[in-house]
Symmetry: none
Subunit: 273 residues, 2 copies
């Protein structure tokens, strides 16, 4: 666990702008709106509608929930061939078990392929009808079939949910690994506040943590919780807790302040008698 | 890239059965239904509702679209503490920019952590209100915050969509890699010995850690280190230390024993005078 204040990740807008979401013969306009919303949350904006049953539609606008720009710029075409015309990489969403085995990938592999094959853009990702998905003829226009590994006992993923998951993988694939240098470890959400400052969020040095340990040990001796004649594993276990906690400077200070308050309190109580 | 004819992947049902989805104070029952549906498509079934505004509800059932079993077995509780009591790993969904930086992970890392830390189950993944998400106090009960890397210009991911993405990552994490070599988990060097036993090395539950926190807070009040009138970030910072330390049962006992030792020591001293 690194203490690095991770910066906001960056995404390759060129990649995101080159991925077309193609919806074939969608029956319910609400699903078109919900799909537009799902796309936009992941930074996709290029929507193509092949022969939708009802579009434009008020229902679509309502369900898009603010992704109206995606709907407004959506292109409506009559045939899937038109939708795919300029595409260099075509991926069809499909459940498994099609008559003709086809190069089958998972959403994550799809992201990897889109990321790596920069010369294969624009890319189309094609979604079928709510009820029956893509026809075999349509699937056969694709380079790959992508399958969302859903629960085989309950595949009831609606169109917008499928678009959401696929768009999410595209977004992850578009992430620019600039700070890939040292640490791929977890960062912390940024944002200072209150009495927090950068200094106090810095990982504590060995010396600081060790000082805390010594203080703790001395307080534990005083309260007779710790008997140095019979240490058993107590010191080791305390040290392990400190190691696991990856304390920063501020935390060391707080814990030492707390220990000092115990020491003072004990003195006050005993004197007060 | 697998050239298909790959066999149906298998998923670890034990892992999937050990992940609780906790929804806090959901306003719209339809969202509960849609979340149940999203869960079930990914093989998750364990739903806990903290103080939902309206539940049970016809609207929830309709939107669950066949995931009625998930709704029927959902547990409704009054407080988040009840929901988390038996959990050993708690992950809160959050956007960035919280006041106090917290261990922050992406959904994919979350999956990896859940997969690897087999001793940290049951796991809770906590989702906040539709409008305002999780409260800071709720977030501070979590070991990690998970952030869906959405489009910063349009973060309009609805509750069910967020559940869908997170559940998808859990499902991927549960995938059994046929070529999976037994994973050397990041364990501890096996130290047998002394007063260590298996039980005490088990990860502490939320209830146990929370009990330690309450004890600590009461001691801090007693020694006047902590002034509840002016808490500032102290409670949050203490909770974060506890979250980072991933305490086991034995460690919780040791730390509570230490806290108790102060009171006992003072009493003995005063009597002895």
């Amino acid at each position: 666990m690194s203490n690095s204040l991770s910066q906001e990740p960056e995404f390759d807008s060129q990649l995101l702008g080159n991925v077309k979401v193609v919806l074939c013969q969608t029956s319910h306009p609400g699903n078109i709106g919900a799909a537009a919303r799902a796309m936009k949350t992941m930074g996709l904006t290029y929507l193509v509608l092949v022969n939708p049953k009802e579009y434009p539609s008020h229902e679509a606008s309502v369900r898009s929930s603010g992704a109206l720009d995606v709907l407004d710029s959506a292109v409506v075409v009559d045939t899937i061939e038109e939708a795919l015309a300029d595409c260099r990489l075509i991926i069809g969403t499909s459940s498994r078990n099609r008559a003709l085995p086809w190069p089958l990938i998972e959403p994550r592999e799809m992201g990897e392929i889109i990321r790596q094959q920069t010369d294969a853009r624009p890319v189309a990702i094609v979604f079928g009808r709510e009820s029956t998905g893509l026809l075999n003829e349509e699937l056969q226009l694709c380079h790959y079939h992508v399958n969302i590994p859903a629960n085989p006992e309950y595949m009831s993923l609606n169109l917008a949910a499928a678009v959401q998951l696929i768009a999410y993988e595209v977004r992850l694939a578009s992430k620019i690994e600039s700070s890939q240098n040292v640490n791929t470890e977890q960062g912390y959400s940024d944002a200072p506040a209150d009495d927090l400052d950068k200094e106090s969020e810095q990982l504590a040095s060995f010396e600081e943590v060790n000082g805390l340990y010594n203080h703790l040990e001395s307080t534990m001796k005083q309260t007779e919780f710790y008997n140095p004649e019979q240490p058993k594993l107590l010191p080791a276990r305390i040290r392990r807790v400190l190691a696991k906690a990856h304390l920063n400077k501020g935390e060391v200070n707080i814990l030492r302040g707390f220990l000092s308050s115990m020491d003072k309190y004990i003195k006050r109580q005993i004197k007060g008698q």
